[in-house]
């Protein structure tokens, strides 16, 4: 039997990580806070993918590994799969979750200028809320990067929330 805890336990931890690192230790250094939050996610992703792939044969290529993230890995975490996977066949993959669970209870100002890619700090600076939302996304970005790195795939991961409640994760595999 799979051991379970209340979802609010995980959400509470995530809220606290973001609030401690952004308002406490690194109040005026959002990029340092972001790096710490991403590092925590990386650690989690690394260990989870180790556990979830224990009984599997090795993935034959990058696409197989990404599909594993979209299906099995995402299902373990969010009880649903990634809704849409796109790739340019040159090492960039876009994973879209139409209703990303960890953002479902985060409120964001409706104005479209307030959202954007978290890799674009100038756009983020426009609004405190967008910045806070961006901070929440460093954790899942870290999880994905950690999971893939454990599978031998070094990459960079960013998130795009320009059409909420959908959230897209952009994976760029390092050559």
């Amino acid at each position: 039997m799979v051991r379970e805890v209340a979802e609010s336990c995980v959400e509470s931890l995530l809220t606290e990580i973001v609030s401690q690192y952004c308002n406490g230790f690194y109040a005026n250094k959002p990029d340092l806070a972001a790096r710490r939050i991403e590092a925590i996610g990386y650690q989690v992703g690394h260990q989870l993918s180790e556990r979830y792939t224990m009984e599997r044969p090795r993935f034959s290529d990058h696409l197989e590994a990404i599909k594993f993230i979209c299906k099995d890995f995402w299902s373990e975490l969010f009880k649903k799969q990634i809704d849409n996977l796109k790739t340019n066949h040159r090492g960039t993959f876009v994973l879209q979750d139409n209703k990303f669970r960890w953002l479902s209870r985060v409120s964001v100002a409706p104005s479209s200028e307030n959202t954007g890619s978290i890799q674009d700090p100038s756009a983020m600076a426009e609004s405190k809320e967008a910045q806070a939302t961006g901070m929440y996304l460093y954790f899942p970005c870290g999880i994905i990067r950690g999971a893939l790195s454990n599978l031998g795939i070094p990459c960079a991961v960013s998130a795009d929330i320009s059409n909420l409640p959908a959230c897209s994760f952009v994976i760029r595999i390092k050559a």
Partner: protein
Amino acid sequence: AIFASVERVNSELFTLTYGAIVRQLLTDLEEVEEVNKQLDQMGYNIGVRLVDEFLAKSNVSRCVDFKETTEVIAKVGFKMFLGVTASVTNWDADGTSCSLILEDNPLVDFVELPDTCQGLYYCNIISGVIRGALEMVSMKTEVSWVRDMLRGDDVFELHVKLLKQVPEEYPYKDDE
């Protein structure tokens, strides 16, 4: 039944996330004592918020005293959030302090403390949660660890001491 009333997730995600937080805090804060403090503070903040979800979903009726309150935490609170139950023992004569005993704790699955972490109260977030939640229902408490399985004890034991029960103040001036 209480555990069925909330949305649940795979506990590995929770356990590993908590582990990664502790690890990151140890790196950033360096001092074990500081990490203990930080975990307690995070727990307190969580408890302050979590008590709302607890009261909304647990259907518990008003507790008459501190004794009943701790029983509810042990049997309903722990079950609702962590899926395990605790037992309450060691009451002092005036009923203001007791021990919560936890034999199974999902927070420490896969955890082993290295020698460099002597003095770390790994589960300090739990004591913080209890303190924060109780403060929201007008009970000032002091919560500390007595026994810890990560330090070789046979169970987890939390000592809960009621310091002060703040009488509720109603906003009588509502109709002004």
